[in-house]
């Protein structure tokens, strides 16, 4: 082992990353070579001072607010999750709304396409006919009428018909 070999293995020797036989070789050379021994000691001290510096800087860091901040962040996410889930359409509340919407559509379709068998069998009841039915509680039609002095009048609201016969009207035959 020469001083050049030790110089190349110096960092690994200080960090004890060399295999044990190589560590022994470097240590035996440094025991007999003051230059290499000084180089090893300087590098070890440098590494130690850097480590001490890093350790002191880490100790100066205030980490007391880290975990409360993490906990607060977790709590915020937990509170926001149901609302986000609902907005995305997933989960039980969203499923309920979808079912409610489907049921409403089905009920509307049934109302639209249901034939009004109670009023007129076989004839679907339209809005216009429903309106006429409401206005025609007493609706009457005249197919034929005979007599004298007859006038007819119909009340628009209920469709009630009145047939007036003047006192002097009438026909002889019964």
């Amino acid at each position: 082992m020469t001083c050049t070999d030790v110089e190349q293995l110096l960092g690994a020797f200080v960090d004890t990353e060399l295999p044990p036989p190589r560590l022994l070789d470097v240590a035996r050379h440094a025991a007999t070579c003051s230059a290499c021994d000084s180089a090893i000691r300087e590098l070890a001290e440098l590494r130690a001072s850097v480590a001490a510096l890093l350790e002191s800087e880490v100790r100066q860091l205030d980490l007391s607010g880290v975990w409360p901040a993490v906990n607060a962040a977790i709590a915020r996410q937990a509170a926001a999750r149901p609302r986000l889930t609902a907005l995305r359409g997933g989960g039980a509340p969203g499923a309920t709304r979808i079912w409610a919407a489907l049921m409403a559509i089905a009920a509307t379709a049934l109302l639209w396409f249901r034939p009004a068998t109670q009023q007129h069998p076989g004839k679907p009841m339209t809005i216009a006919s429903a309106g006429r039915a409401a206005r025609s509680l007493n609706d009457a039609g005249i197919d034929r009428i005979a007599g004298r002095g007859i006038t007819m009048r119909r009340e628009p609201k209920t469709g009630t018909m009145i047939i007036w016969v003047s006192g002097s009207g009438g026909e002889g035959a019964r």
């Binding site: 009023q119 009630t160 019964r174």
Partner: protein, 165 residues
């Protein structure tokens, strides 16, 4: 014993059939006669109807003269006595499109005042008015005619369009 019980069953069945048949052929007719005048008290029974009657007939005071309600058979002539020699003769012909089709004749003695074929909505009321010309003297006579068939539509007799006229 067997003959007696068998005969009883036949009689009961026949009675049930007669009652059911009579019910199947029934039409409820309600005839109300009202005296209308320009002034005077109004009958409490007609107070609720007064606004409608006034709008329809134009008079202010109404007195109930009589009410008759009968269950009449289809295609049978039925006569309602209105008093003072007048009568209303009805011939219910059938149901068509939720309307009672019937012939209505208003008679005064032997005189036929009105003879008409009407299609009245089931449960509806129509009115005949008499004596409008004599309004200044003693008002008018109103005859309210209401016809209602309460049976299911399947059991109703269907009127023929041409033959009934």
């Amino acid at each position: 014993m067997r003959h007696t019980s068998g005969a009883s069953c036949v009689v009961v069945t026949a009675l049930l059939l007669i009652v059911a048949g009579a019910h199947a052929q029934a039409l409820d007719i309600h005839v109300t006669t009202v005296r209308a005048a320009d002034s005077g008290p109004c009958d409490p029974q007609l107070e609720a109807m007064r606004p409608r009657l006034r709008k329809l007939a134009g008079y202010r005071a109404y007195q109930l003269l009589g009410e008759q309600q009968r269950r009449v058979a289809w295609r049978n002539t039925e006569e309602f006595d209105l008093g003072e020699g007048r009568s209303l003769v009805l011939l219910p012909k059938g149901m068509s499109d939720q309307r009672v089709m019937m012939q209505v004749r208003l008679l005064e003695g032997r005189r036929r005042l009105v003879d008409t074929n009407v299609r009245l909505v089931n449960g509806g009321t129509m009115v005949f008015g008499l004596g409008r010309d004599a309004r200044a003297a003693d008002g008018a006579l109103l005859i309210l005619l209401r016809a209602q068939d309460n049976r299911p539509q399947d059991n109703r007799p269907q009127g023929t369009q041409q033959g009934d006229r």
